[in-house]
Symmetry: C2
Subunit: 339 residues, 2 copies
Amino acid sequence: MDDTTREWHLAERPQGEPDSDCFELEEAEVPEPAPGELLVRVNYLSVDPYMRGRMSAGESYAEPWEVGDVLKGGIVGEVVESNSEAYSEGDLVTGEGRWGEYSLLDASEVAPVDPAVADQPAYLGTLGMPGRTAYFGLLEVGEPKPGDTVVVSGAAGAVGSVVGQIAKLNGCRVVGFAGSDEKTDWLTEDLGYDAAINYKTTDDYGEALAEAAPEGVDVYFDNVGGPITDAVFTQLNLDARVAVCGQIAHYNAESVPTGPRKLPQIIAPRAKVQGLLVSDFVTRFGEASEQLGEWVASDELTHRETIVEGLENAPDAFLGLFSGDNIGKQVVQVGDRSA
Amino acid sequence: MDDTTREWHLAERPQGEPDSDCFELEEAEVPEPAPGELLVRVNYLSVDPYMRGRMSAGESYAEPWEVGDVLKGGIVGEVVESNSEAYSEGDLVTGEGRWGEYSLLDASEVAPVDPAVADQPAYLGTLGMPGRTAYFGLLEVGEPKPGDTVVVSGAAGAVGSVVGQIAKLNGCRVVGFAGSDEKTDWLTEDLGYDAAINYKTTDDYGEALAEAAPEGVDVYFDNVGGPITDAVFTQLNLDARVAVCGQIAHYNAESVPTGPRKLPQIIAPRAKVQGLLVSDFVTRFGEASEQLGEWVASDELTHRETIVEGLENAPDAFLGLFSGDNIGKQVVQVGDRSA
């Protein structure tokens, strides 16, 4: 085991789009686990759009990081020293850890990783927080019924790719917006989406949507905001449900973004538009993990990760989320020596 | 009884704000009631903001009027000829009728008016469609809990004035936005609102709201849209509910109105924003009418009408809704010979 670890800190708060000046890689001593703690060697770490909110002061639901703080996120790693009876050296676990080579985790706050179900990176995506977000957001906020048309923005991302597949499992017609032909092909050929629209090569989103969803939109799962969302709101059916999971198009805005007003558009369809945060369902995470694991094990749910190698590339992997570099879940491979 | 009746027709569709060219007063013969019908001499007719939508082609939830069509709305009147056993000559009834001196109504689609409960105009406001809209919109969409802060825009209007009082009856703190000191005084002195903001003399709505609602907004009942709504959305509490009843600020817009994007604002509070149409609750109208009638009879619910005299002034009364001329319900007195 190493004596020192490297980890990413917040060097300065971004104004608008973050750049490399916002991140600083620092060395630290590898710590000793206190009673109940595990020392974990990080194999993979997760970068997620919501982290952009934590980089700004007081602008998000998640507690903001302070300048100088170590960055944190979902990790998968191997227990190298255990001070808990629950886990032993060599066990694979997942939890909330540091953007670093080593992290201390509270044994009560980690979950086991079973390589027989899926490779480690899947535990940061379909079998992790994004998968649970898709599960509860679609089923509890979107309330899909068989025959409904479900539209997903950011459809090839970590959350969207799961949303569409669960909607298909519920008997819905599913239409996705994504940003490349490779992504839209993946949606329709591998994930079972009924139609997919490449928004980067489409001029008129409304026209494309009307063609892909000729019976209108019953459920809209929004990860993105912006002009895609503007188009979807003009085609909501009676009693439509909109789950607002993310608005990545606006996370780097330097002032309050403006756009077409949506409240006048929701009266006629009596649409319900609801903000979504997966932590509200924490008491039911076990249910979601079990169901998602079953679907993955039975190949009813396809998962995919885009893996960037090397801790030093974590900031770039994070920044790539805003240009849509990832297909499926974006993870950073830090130290998986078995892979 | 007269042989002829006068009634208002749609002369042309408005572009943006309607003007008098949109309306034409025409003469017609007073018709005979068919079996099951009543001939009613109109005493009062209702003008309501939603009618603006019916004047445009296919832009609203209510069926658009065609150019040349007679205008219709809520009326209260006296049965002068009955072809139904349910009502007799001299009975007072309310229903959906013509903007005219006489109207044929289907006896199965009218309700009796009881002058012992309230004067006739109240049956077009607190005891009519606006009252039911307030009742179901607040209770079913707003879901107020004791101690909640409820904010109402258009608070001194036909719907808003009822919303705030029902919220007070449910143990809430109630804050209203209205457009004159006379209105805000009425809200706080007669209706029990805890605070009221005159938006025409207030520069910073957000600051005024923060002062009037220091614990944030749990329920927002929106009749208006525009900058008031923009301010409220920045102060939504966790699990806030927004009932979108009307957006009168935008009804005369000639192109899609724009403003601050609200979806990014509802994620952190996980707010639920829902469009509202009273007709969805049609099977429960009896419950609402009974409860509203009890509250009015026991003086727990105050009602007020702004009455314009003369059928010839109906278009002006309607247009006055958009400049906020009315306090409480705007009605037009057509022929109440007892008043």
